[in-house]
Symmetry: C2
Subunit: 424 residues, 2 copies
């Protein structure tokens, strides 16, 4: 029997009975599983252990500075060079920051809030600040906007990026819209990759706000799993239109080496990065340069990093396969759950029938499986359809993942059947 | 001939001639020396190299968490415990932050500026915010206040801490005064240690602003050199008066292990630290916990850290001796330069005759010796008397330091004589 939203009442009642029995059996196993956060598995971390004892011989960098001591605010040269080559961004436009790109994003927004951007009015002096938020998106981005009291405007995500007609229209009309938050490659959670056209339109579009800022959080820029999607270089395009200061580009090695113990970077156009460097000079004396040297020594070249990412990608693929095969098996010919296969990144986003996501997550929790909170991928935690669920398959073992997916699929169906029976 | 401000014109002219000749000889040596910043010498850093490969065996902390992965926002337990014991602060009231206490101070001020403190009006919404600044003080503290547009009020520093009569009067009268910035032990640059009475008065005083905040930057809390001065526990006292949320306590291992690659902490009263933890949860996913575990593994106990500090202190003492002996030799029976011998910390502050500090620094620079800019220890870089100079003896070798002090003393005298001759 293939269940769908079109099934009749009798079939639904029969299915409900079977699903409750399956669910109770799974519940009786007293499992404790977690697919809530995009945490790398220990085996992924082990691939980087060597980095922790590098450099072997001395702590003098390529410019003759002792990285154990004060100095070098914007990051050691070899590390900036490595990322410059990897991401095709000019070396002088990159600052290697601390351990967290999220922290760099927060700080960047805080600076514009407090001091303004390039001579424009500080956002704290404005009545209203709005941000465009492609949805579903990353919960922690939205949490930052919420913390600062920004009004978040949902922008629907197409399979090639945000709805650009809507973005262009809003950005052009409303000067209280100060920016848009993007994860342009293998987006969290949908795995969406921005097309060249979308990148171009973002880089060139007219904006009412002169300090309009694109938060370009390229968190999964080298996190290919099934396919190597190439992201257009937004700086190349923005430069043509004189808009390079509009871009704040972020990247980190949190999901390359160690979460929270890697290095993060911020890059921007000439004027914007100069302003940031000046303010960094007041904010801190500098970041952990030993870690920067280690990161460089471990990878040496972009090729070195891509080789490492191939190994990580193979590990993730094994996990993604479990999830995607199971989804295909259970819902391939049903409309109770829909999803797009991601080509990389860390997540798989699925859509239940409307009004079923929260209930699915609740059922799973009672059955010993923690999922990311339903709605978390939307501003204010409010998924208008209550249908999106983010699956984070990296942390559990393959065996755990298989059990987790059993629970997940039963919960999706049970929630769907219960919902359908309400109206049927 | 012992020069002094009372010397007659003939003696001054004779001295000037000799000093110019000495100065020219030193200048001809084409030296390149630097006593400008409190950078540890390489030999000091070497004492901590072992920390860079710890822990030897695994990365699981005392609570069973893999420190290489996400999680544990407020710092790993063993590290918080270590600092709790060292500084006698409750473990739950400590957050281990990133690599820089200066950055933690900046962030703390930014948070109150943006969001306000414990329900009070955000400082960005106020017409005027003022801070009390004991002088001479740390240039980077003043740079933060200046960046935020705070009006800084100079508070004269006595030999037991800031002039508390003035502090109490101002704090009580003016609710736009939101705080005071203190380096309570071996202050930068004067080496002043706050007496028990001063600490008590700060902790208990009445303040017009309910969100009055004491930035308690205990940067040199274990940096004893000649004597082990004990600082009163400000939290113990503040608790008695219900003022513990007034204190933001900062500490770091930048001058214990590696500058910029150590760990820093912030501590406060129950309510204030809870608020900070909540905001940290939006600002970052967490800090480098591998570094935290390393720091713990290296020291294990407060005793372990104090043993390490004894070795560092002995290295510093050698440098301090060179400076202080030379000063005594050249100015012990003259009023052209005055200073107080510090018992610890990183600096020696001296006072030239009025209007002679800038000129002394300029003369030294032309002679190949970089000193910290004159005036830097005052808000806006303005030393009202133009007499204070900060000597940072840690970085040069003893041999370099001896040469540097030769130059310094000649420059002090030459600037003084030139100044005296203007009026004489």
């Amino acid at each position: 029997m293939s269940l769908s939203s079109q099934s009749n009442r009798d079939d639904l009642l029969k299915a409900q009975k079977n699903l409750i029995s399956e669910y109770d059996k799974l519940k009786a196993c007293n499992l404790s599983l977690d697919m809530s956060r995009g945490k790398p598995a220990a085996a992924q971390l082990d691939l980087s252990n060597e980095i922790l004892t590098l450099p072997i011989d001395n702590y003098i960098n390529c410019e003759g500075n002792d990285v154990r001591n004060y100095g070098i605010l914007t990051g050691i040269k070899e590390c900036r060079q490595l990322f410059s080559q990897l991401l095709d961004i000019k070396e002088d436009n990159i600052i290697i920051g601390g351990n967290s790109s999220l922290n760099l994003i927060y700080d960047a927004i805080a600076r514009y809030y407090i001091f303004g951007k390039l001579g424009q009015t500080p956002w704290c002096k404005l009545e209203k600040v709005k941000f465009l938020c492609p949805v579903p998106g990353y919960d922690r981005h939205f949490a930052i906007c919420e913390e600062f009291g920004f009004e978040m405007i949902n922008i629907p995500m197409n399979n090639n990026g945000p709805d650009m007609d809507m973005v262009e229209k809003l950005a052009k009309e409303d000067d209280s819209i100060k920016g848009i938050i993007c994860v342009p490659l293998y987006s969290n959670p949908g795995g969406i990759c921005y097309s060249d056209e979308v990148v171009e339109r973002l880089a060139k579009m007219e904006t009412a706000a002169r300090d309009f800022t694109i938060i370009w959080d390229n968190a999964y820029g080298v996190h290919h799993v099934y396919k190597e999607i190439k992201l257009a270089n937004i700086f190349d395009i923005a430069e043509k239109y004189g808009n390079d200061d509009r871009i704040l580009y972020f990247f980190s090695t949190s999901k390359i080496t160690f979460p929270g113990s890697g290095v993060a970077l911020i890059a921007s156009g000439d004027k914007a990065i100069e302003e940031i460097k000046k303010r960094f000079g007041v904010m801190t004396i500098g970041y952990n340069k030993i870690n920067q040297l280690r990161t460089y020594e471990f990878f040496k070249t972009p090729q070195g990093m891509m080789l490492h990412m191939k190994k990580l990608g193979a590990m993730l693929k094994e996990k993604f396969d479990v999830v995607l095969n199971k989804l295909e098996e259970e819902f391939g010919s049903s409309d109770l759950l829909t999803w797009a296969k991601p080509y990389g990144g860390y997540f798989i986003a699925v859509d239940t029938l409307p009004n079923c996501a929260k209930e699915t997550v609740r059922l799973a929790k009672e059955c010993g499986l923690i999922l990311t909170n339903a709605g978390c991928a939307y501003p204010y935690g409010k998924d208008p359809k209550d249908s999106n669920i983010r699956i984070a398959p990296s942390y559990p073992t393959v065996e755990e993942l298989e059990k987790a997916m059993d629970i997940f699929c039963v919960c999706v169906k049970l929630a769907a059947v219960n919902e359908l029976l309400k109206k049927n």
